[in-house]
Amino acid sequence: MAAAISAFENGARDILLLERDQYLGGILNQCIHTGFGINYFKEVLTGPEYADRFIKKIKAIPEIEISLKSFVVKLTKNNVITYLKPGSLEEVKAKAIIMATGARERTREMVHIAGTRPSGIFSAGLAQKLINIEGLLPGKEVVIIGSGDIGLIMARRFVLEGAKVKGVIEIERRTRGLARNVVQCIEDFDIPFYLSHKVSKIHGKDRVEAVEVVRVNEGLNEVPDSKFKIECDTVLISVGLIPENELIEMAGVELDRKTNSPVSGELNKTSIPGLFVCGNAFKIYDIVDSVSKDSSLAGRRAVEHIAGQA
């Protein structure tokens, strides 16, 4: 939305915004905690409130056509997009494309946690959606693997919903999340925080029953005889985000193997002229305010690219 609005403000008049979900705002809709907008709006907002500012603004601009439930299946290096939506499959060519596809959560599989695969293992974001959107509490005794911001926020959320959070396990010596989240979500609720520890195994047949935790040294190797078990019925995985860039990869954009970000000399740009990437799809940001700022710049760059071609 920020990129589309910025493209309009910089002079573009024929803008199509494709959203695969049935509503605008993406993941902000499930982020009902506060802390959004402090830099961008100089106000403290919740996620849905932050998104709503953009939704109101974008709906007031008739030159931006919003297409919901629209799922892009193909992108070519000539900037042709194929997308499908209920009832039709469409193909459009654009003078410039901005990818604001965000990120997905890294999974348990990406950090190779051994053990079984019972019910009760959730990405922190999925647990957040279950609680905040669906009103369902997935479990009562929770262990959180990784101390990314979503994991920290969810630790507090579970406690507020009446569950017991039995530990947050972080392999590094310090948290990956924001300091304010450690204080407000972990320390204020007396949740055990295990730094330099990792979960070495998940136990349970139908449902998660326990995790095995072990201390690690500076080389991240297991310290002998430091293993202990925490019984729990739910495990959240919060081990970072990874840019969602499979479409631009399909178009031939070179991606960094480790980060899944486009290899680029300049913010928002890719190896394909006229194809821009913004927000968490370009690189993982700590706060949404930075995402919006980056996306506004992408909108301007796209317009400059079109002008340069005319």
Partner: protein, 474 residues
């Protein structure tokens, strides 16, 4: 209570293959499965390889059944609308000593009747398998090897069997068997009467056999850990790659699955617990090292999923026989690799055993041999997708973004018997991609809840006590 002609115990590839084959005849048939859905036992972890028949002892039953099965399964797959791809396999030798063993393997396989085998050298390998390690000197090429989706095969066999009158009962665990004039089978869902029993209960075949009074074999689980790579790496290999086989297994393979994702593994570890499906750090390390020996460019960051399966091992060969001491009771046990390939021939063998045991088999004139192919958007060119969406708009309503699965496909899967999140995953691939269901799980839960008229809190991952929402079941 009905008296069935035959009750089949076990709804994996073996049980459903037998059920479908027997459904050609005028018989009353029931299949009992203890899990919530079919293929949830041994079959769910099958790699989907249709073996050519190499790497089997010359005089083995499994070798003979495998070679014929490789031939038969093609028609079955075609009739049922299951994709079969003949990709060929390479057994790779890394030095001259290993290369000389290839000659022996080739000779043995030819005795079994494996067709079109050829030993290929470095130059051939460089052209046809460019990512293979440069250290490979020779390989035995078996062009008739193929791949298939093991679960879709089970589901489509079952669906066709049901169309031909077979009753399928899930969540029906056999607890005891009493024999008088006929068998009485007591289960968690009541009693069943049968004139014949076919025991195809995988890991539990020894326990079920014991209930009928036959206690002369044991099933030992042999664990295999498998690791799946991102579909982006679909073209990592052209063939199924095998190292030289060891005594207990065919070794660590690099293969492609029928859905396009490469897969590496499996380990082979004899264990005691028939429910131990845990993966291990050691298994991961072993598989990665061995897979890189074949394809050095494999990166651990490409691994998006892993699981463990248990092979039901009862000695060196399959046990398929009518038990004279328990007339009417047929054991089909110890069906480990190459069980999927052999399944069509196992079914034919069971038909013959029944005939010899005195069963009168008469073909039905109205047997339905074919079923309509299930639609999967991911396996289809965009032009066909366009036509489908224009005809039925719900094909354009995407649920699973990573694997491109529409709401229509999910509803179809439920209509065809899916009851759990895993059942949806095995049938449609929704939740099987790189995000692991992070984005689509809640939507699938809602679809299940709407279609089955159950509350969201009743939705399970794979039946039993595997509710997604713990302790809120109303």
């Amino acid at each position: 209570m009905n008296l069935f002609d035959i009750v089949i115990i076990g709804g994996g590839i073996v049980g459903t293959s037998i059920a479908r084959e027997l459904s050609r005849y005028r018989l009353s048939l029931a299949l009992l499965e203890k899990e919530s859905e079919l293929a949830f036992g041994v079959s769910k972890s099958n790699s989907g390889i249709i073996h050519p028949g190499t790497q089997n002892p010359v005089n083995s039953l499994k070798g003979r059944l495998c070679v014929q099965g490789n031939f038969l399964i093609r028609k079955i797959a075609r009739d049922l609308g299951v994709d079969f791809k003949e990709v060929g396999e390479l057994i790779v030798a890394f030095n001259e000593e290993e290369a000389s063993r290839l000659v022996e393997i080739k000779k043995d396989a030819e005795k079994l009747g494996v067709p079109k085998l050829k030993i290929v050298g470095r130059k051939w390998l460089r052209i046809h398998e460019p990512n293979l390690s440069g250290e490979a000197v020779k390989a035995l090429y078996a062009p008739t090897a193929g791949i298939i989706s093991p679960y879709r095969m089970v589901y489509d066999l079952a669906e066709n069997a049901v169309a031909n009158g077979v009753e399928i009962h899930t969540e029906t665990k056999v607890e005891s068997i009493v024999r008088s004039n006929h068998f009485e089978i007591f289960t968690t869902k009541g009693a069943f009467k049968a004139r014949y029993i076919i025991n195809a209960s995988g890991l539990y075949a020894d326990e079920v056999s014991k209930m009928a009074g036959i206690d002369d074999f044991k099933i030992r689980p042999r664990k295999g850990e498998e690791f799946i790579l991102d579909k982006k790496k679909e073209y990592l290999t052209n063939h199924l790659l095998f190292p030289l086989p060891s005594k207990v297994s065919k070794g660590f393979l690099v293969i492609k699955t029928s859905d396009g994702n490469p897969m590496i593994g499996p380990t082979a570890e004899d264990i005691l617990d028939k429910t131990d499906l845990a993966t291990t750090d050691m298994g991961f390390k072993k598989v990665l090292i061995a897979a890189r020996r074949l394809i050095p460019s494999i990166d651990e960051n490409d691994i998006i999923a892993y699981f463990a399966g248990l092979r039901p091992v009862a000695g060196d060969d399959f046990i398929i026989r009518h038990e004279e001491k328990a007339p009417g009771f047929i054991n089909v046990a110890g069906i480990q690799s190459p069980g999927l390939t052999a399944a069509p021939t196992i079914a034919l063998m069971v038909v013959n055993i029944l005939k010899r045991a005195g069963m009168k088999l008469k073909k039905k004139p109205d047997f339905i041999g074919k079923r309509k192919k299930t639609i999967h958007l991911f396996a289809m060119p965009l032009e066909r997708t366009r036509k489908l969406i224009e005809k039925d708009s719900t094909y354009g309503d995407m649920v699973c973004r990573c694997e491109m699965v529409s709401i229509r496909e999910i509803r179809d899967a439920i209509g065809r018997g899916a009851r759990t999140l895993d059942g949806i995953k095995f049938r449609t691939r929704a939740q099987a991609g790189r995000c692991h269901g992070s984005f689509c799980t809640t939507r699938i839960m809602k679809i299940l809840s709407q279609e089955l008229k159950k509350s969201l809190t009743e939705v399970t991952k794979r039946g039993g006590a595997s509710e997604v929402i713990k302790g809120e079941r109303s």
